[in-house]
């Protein structure tokens, strides 16, 4: 078990197992079977009981999508793309947890040809993109509808990037608010 921060406990297990009370995750727990075949590559995430339902839905959706991407074979784009790395998938989960809240709308998640993943939100032309490389290098780009950059950063470790995280959270919260407002106006 690795303590990533005071509020977040992540463990990677070689097989699903019951967790003793002192090991219960405070936020979520990533479990991973040792994959012996490519088609077994997947991540499993157990969320703590205090995880709120809306965010739980978002995170489960993301885990499902990432597991789908982990099944892609090499050369999935017919141009020599690498398989999506499990490290990138795990990093995507960490960043989603850091940035999203109960009112965040669902991200769109794409494989990258270098084995990374990209997480994107797009609403009314405004966007936030999290680019995660196969070795955990993370880049963030958020912009308004006319292309002005509002949030931008290159960070290897989200734990050391509090200013970037705060800015990205604020931007994502604004995007989510706009999506809710649009939905209300339609109804």
């Amino acid at each position: 078990m690795t303590t990533i921060s005071e509020r977040l406990l992540i463990g990677i297990a070689t097989a699903p197992q019951p967790w003793s009370s002192h090991q219960q995750p405070t936020q979520f727990l990533i479990q991973r079977d040792m994959a012996s075949r490519d088609d077994q590559r997947k991540i499993a995430v157990t969320f703590s009981q205090n995880y709120r339902p809306a965010k739980l839905d978002l995170m489960n959706l993301a885990v499902g999508k990432l597991n789908q991407l982990l099944q892609l074979e090499r050369n999935w784009d017919a141009l020599g793309a690498m398989q999506v790395s499990e490290t990138a998938a795990l990093t995507a989960i960490r960043w989603l947890d850091l940035l999203s809240d109960d009112e965040t709308f669902s991200p769109q998640i794409f494989p990258l040809p270098n084995g990374g993943v990209q997480v994107e939100w797009l609403a009314g032309g405004e966007s936030l993109e999290i680019e995660i490389g196969p070795k955990n290098n993370v880049g963030v780009l958020g912009s308004d509808a006319v292309g002005n950059v509002l949030v931008e950063g290159d960070y290897p470790d989200p734990q050391g990037s509090s200013e970037l995280i705060m800015s990205a959270r604020k931007h994502l919260s604004a995007l989510s608010g706009a999506v809710r407002a649009a939905a209300r106006s339609r109804t």
């Binding site: 789908q68 991407l69 892609l72 999935w76 784009d77 017919a78 141009l79 020599g80 793309a81 709308f105 769109q108 794409f110 494989p111 990258l112 040809p113 270098n114 990209q118 994107e120 939100w121 797009l122 609403a123 009314g124 032309g125 966007s127 993109e129 680019e131 290098n137 880049g139 780009l141 912009s143 292309g147 950059v149 931008e152 950063g153 290159d154 706009a178 999506v179 649009a182």
Partner: protein, 155 residues
Amino acid sequence: MDDALPHPEDDSSISDDEVLYRRIADYGSGDLVVVDAITGHRRPSSGAFKSDDDGISVYLNGVLSEIGLGPNDLVRAPQNAVVALRATVPRQLSLGVVRHAWPTGTDDDDHPRNAAHALIVGFLGLSGKERRRTQKALAQLCTWVIDPGARKSDP
């Protein structure tokens, strides 16, 4: 953007008005298209413009036309999308366009469309921030030519 110079490798024999087609890969169960949660507008993910070591593969419309081909001939799978850019767009982003006919090491080396193969170059010298901004600009400035996902989502 208007004052930017093209990348030094740029091939000036390719006119600014030349249309560059870019095939947007799919991965069977999904595509690399991001959908606006408010407007429903679709555009390629900026990840679809991530450069390989040698550049971003595109096809020159002028060459395709000379040999009787068009954007439909770039499609390799039913879910493949095709977008278009004028050559002036990457140039205004300080990138270049170079001819790269008959690339080797692909699984379709002999296909006649490869006579029109070209590369958008100039990503190697960019910082991570510059590269992401440039990729996003390309994704925003391209136009749809073939978008199978749009047909699928039609009412």
